[in-house]
């Protein structure tokens, strides 16, 4: 009986399931850990020691094979490799050395690599090896990249090497741009930093490696940690919610493995705030809770959750999240988008309504940017909302009776309808309002962008809807700029065709077209014409 109890105790003592690999490590790292653990489980400590070589070692010895690099370029490339190592050393405990041979991470260069996923030549190719006689990770960096193909720049080499170090130490490729764990075959001249993510993982993954080393040294028998992630959903579609309303959802995660499952959950947008348990015990379930910020969005929005785990089969997974957010308010002004101002004051109206589920009160209204008076009154009636794709329907809310004072400054200007409310989030509601006074040039300046030294044509309109005027003369300030006018809308809108002749000098061309009219208040209208001649 005592012997049996001792035997059971011994078996239990062998069932140490550790270390727990953090989520966000790559599959090669996770498989290397399992290989060591399996050897330890069998009590084959020599094999375990051999398998340990597949785990990242520090300092990371980079074997640089520069035989394919032109001799003159070698110092530059060596400098880029060293700088990549320095980036890691300055931000993490990872040390990097460059060695002539026998490195853990071999970097070589090829003139050109084959095309990859994007149809572009690969910027680099990566290969993990489980053969202890070979470098753990071999990376071939292309000396040319992009389309059309162009030489790989030192910064790009530095980014590729820094990324290779991330892979070597076990960090999974990031799905989010912005740090060295992400990479692309597109060209990029900027340096990509070792980010917070890499800093955290460099430490955690090293802890895992050290734990396994100690287990091998102390000949401790471990059971391989095999967490197994089961996600309840592959995508999330949420019911419609009012803007600013609380929206939270849960995703159940079950660990069907024999060891703690580690989780890391990120979102592609600050509008999704995930809270996930760091660990879920073997056989247990946990909840990823996600809070959705609905304040800044309206309509159907698709965002992404990135779930990382230490299950090698599901090191990373994307979960699309569909959110449908109804606007909390609508501020609509029927009629033309631009209000025409004449000699007289002008009245206009706008309508405001809130989602029926809210109890928001509008407290005051004004218009910024123009002399005006605004009255706010309760209102109910039929109205369309074209922006939301809604035809006329019964609405209930407020009418804004706006009275704009005439003041003759010709041109187009912008004003803002401002409504204050008693709502703690939507305290101030705004909508833009355009005004046009007098004869106006549309667009107000003519822009031709970059042009060649050849004839280039453009146009502008001179417009004063409903009020006739005549163009009496047109002139320009440059012999290289010609202009002529034609009526297009009765006698209140004219088209002015212009041409830059192509004889002008290279550089910035800035000409003026002066249009003379029969209106004594606007006898001349000057329109600038600009182009960059290359």
């Amino acid at each position: 009986m005592i012997a049996l109890a001792l035997c059971i105790a011994q078996v239990n003592a062998q069932k140490i399931v550790e270390p727990v690999v953090p989520a966000g490590s790559n599959r090669s790292f996770q498989e290397a850990v399992i290989a060591v653990e399996e050897a330890l489980e069998k009590g084959d400590f020599d094999a375990a020691k051999l398998k340990l070589k597949a785990l990242p070692r520090t300092p990371v010895a980079i074997e640089l094979d520069d035989s394919n690099i032109p001799v003159a370029m070698r110092p530059t490339i060596l400098e880029a490799v060293r700088k990549a190592g320095l980036m890691w050393e300055q931000n993490t405990a990872v040390k990097v050395t460059v060695v002539p041979n026998g490195g853990h991470l071999k970097i070589s260069f090829d003139k050109e690599l084959p095309k990859g996923e994007l149809g572009l030549p690969l910027g680099a190719g990566h290969l993990f090896s489980t053969d202890p006689a070979e470098p753990r990770l071999q990376v071939a960096i292309s000396l040319s990249r992009g389309n059309p193909i162009s030489p790989t720049m030192p910064n790009e080499v530095q980014n590729e090497v820094a990324h290779a170090v991330a892979l070597y130490i076990g960090i999974d490729r990031s799905l989010r741009p912005g740090s060295v764990a992400f990479r692309t075959d597109l060209s990029g001249s900027g340096l990509i930093p070792v980010g917070a993510r890499e800093m955290i993982f460099a430490q955690r993954l090293n802890e895992v490696t050290q734990t396994l080393k100690k287990a091998v040294e102390s000949k401790t028998r471990l059971m391989p940690a095999r967490p197994k992630l089961f996600l309840e959903v592959r995508e999330v579609t949420l019911p419609a919610v009012i803007q600013g309303g609380e929206q939270t959802f849960n995703i159940q995660v079950t660990n069907n493995g024999n060891a703690p499952l580690t989780l890391m959950v990120e979102a592609d947008c600050g509008c999704l705030v995930p809270f996930a348990p760091h660990q879920i015990a073997a056989g247990a379930s946990g909840q990823i809770q996600v809070h959705v910020n609905t304040i800044d969005y309206v309509g159907k929005v698709r965002k992404w959750l990135y779930v990382h785990s230490n299950d090698p089969e599901f090191a990373s997974r994307e979960i699309p999240v569909q959110v449908s957010i109804n606007p909390v308010f609508r501020l609509v002004r029927p009629g033309p988008s631009i209000i025409q101002m004449g000699e007289e004051d002008v009245d206009a109206e706008a309508f405001l309504w809130f989602d029926e589920s809210t109890k928001i009160l509008a407290t005051a209204a004004r218009v910024d940017g123009i002399r005006s008076e605004v009255e706010l009154e309760p209102w109910e009636g039929m109205l369309a909302d074209p922006e939301m794709g809604e035809g006329p329907m019964l609405r209930k809310g407020y009418r804004l009776n706006m009275h704009f004072k005439s003041s003759f400054i010709a041109g187009r200007s912008l004003a803002s309808i401002v409504v204050t409310t008693d709502h703690p989030i939507f305290k101030t509601l705004r909508a833009s309002l355009g005004f046009q006074r007098g004869i106006v040039a549309l667009p107000e300046r003519v822009y031709l962008g970059e042009i060649q030294k050849s004839a280039n044509r453009a146009m502008f309109l001179l417009s004063r809807p409903g009020q006739d005027f005549k163009i009496t003369k047109i002139e320009t300030n440059s012999p290289h700029l010609k202009a002529a006018s034609f009526p297009v809308q009765g006698k209140w809108e004219y088209r002015v065709n212009i041409e830059i002749t192509g004889e002008q000098d290279a550089g910035l061309f800035a000409g003026l077209v002066t249009v003379y009219t029969d209106d004594p208040k606007q006898p001349t209208i000057v329109v600038s014409v600009e182009a960059t001649v290359r």
Binding site: P177, G270, R302, P320, L414
Partner: protein, 413 residues
Amino acid sequence: MKLLLLGGALLFFGGLFAPRHRTAQTFMFLISGSAYGNLAPCGCTKPMSGGIKRRVSALRTLAGNGKRVLVLDNGGLVAGMARQDEIKAETLAESLKSVGVTAINLTKTEIALGPAMVEAMQRLSGEAFTSASFTEPNAPFKISGPFLIAGISESQGDAGAHLIGTNEAVNSAVTTAKQLSKHTILLLDGSLSAARDLARKHPEIYLIVYKSGGAAPSEPGTEGKTWLVTPGEKAKQLLQISGTEAAPLKYAVIKLGPEVKDDPTAGRAYDRYLDRIVREKLFERIPRGTTVAYVGSKACANCHMSAFEKWEQTAHSHALKTLESEKHDRDPDCVACHVVGMDSLSGFMSRSKTPDLADVGCESCHGPGADHSSDPAKYKFPNLGEKVCTTCHNPDTSPGFDFASHWAKVIHN
């Protein structure tokens, strides 16, 4: 050798141009859209994605020599109709022309800028705008190789003049494509469900690009043989699709992060944009209202010295300098979140005229302080919470913002 094998494997599995049948030509579609005026990545939390310089760079690289490549944009270049939106639209149109854009959907947002601006955008884009829905200006389809591309705008509600019904516009596109023995591609200013309905009615449609908020899906949607795809919004990513005449085959989402270099041609266009908004004094043209006067952070220091000293140590106290270094300090899109009271007649005008209102100051969060500073007992400021921060630190400009950790950086009594 193993590396070569790896490369070979990638070529085999991912070979975009590898012909699947000897006679079948492959085509590549590069798809963007719904930039909504986002010309540059913006924000205080790096890294930010998107921007016209990266977009054009990626388009140029992926398009290569342009053979059998269609560059498509689903419109929505801008979201407003102010002068700044016009300049943005011109900049985007000119940048897309530089990569040989095949077609741009002429949508309600472009139409809202008026006929003169539509003509200007047409000229700057190389006549790329197209719409089967709007009868004026009349450029219903674009033909490129074996494809007919039609811009379609959903016609619910009163979307303005010259808009014809969705079904009529799509019927016209599909019928014309049949007559010309072309495959139909729709650039749809409409939702996924609208795209799905159209694909059910017209199963011969090759591809529909629809509009959606947020990011692009990692896999294409399908309805029968028709692919339904969206590049998401704010031009933070591109879609790359390849296929034969028979069907689309491959799909990839290209994320436009800082790994993608800036395109020099788009960079020059962007520099001209910045120059134009300064020369046209768009900042000076912002509508401003009458509010309680702003007094500046130094005035607050008289009674709240410890809070002032804390503020001086924060990034808020040099927020305008950040913009100045990036030449955005007269950009109306940016300045509001870097100064005090931009929407008020008593607010920030310029560093020289209103130096105490430069940067994010006390009144950026607490509101104008003239009343409070004249009689603190009578005019007390209410307690503030997280909501006041998210006015500027919203998911777009500050994607990693969380109140607790950021409040710790600026905490004061």
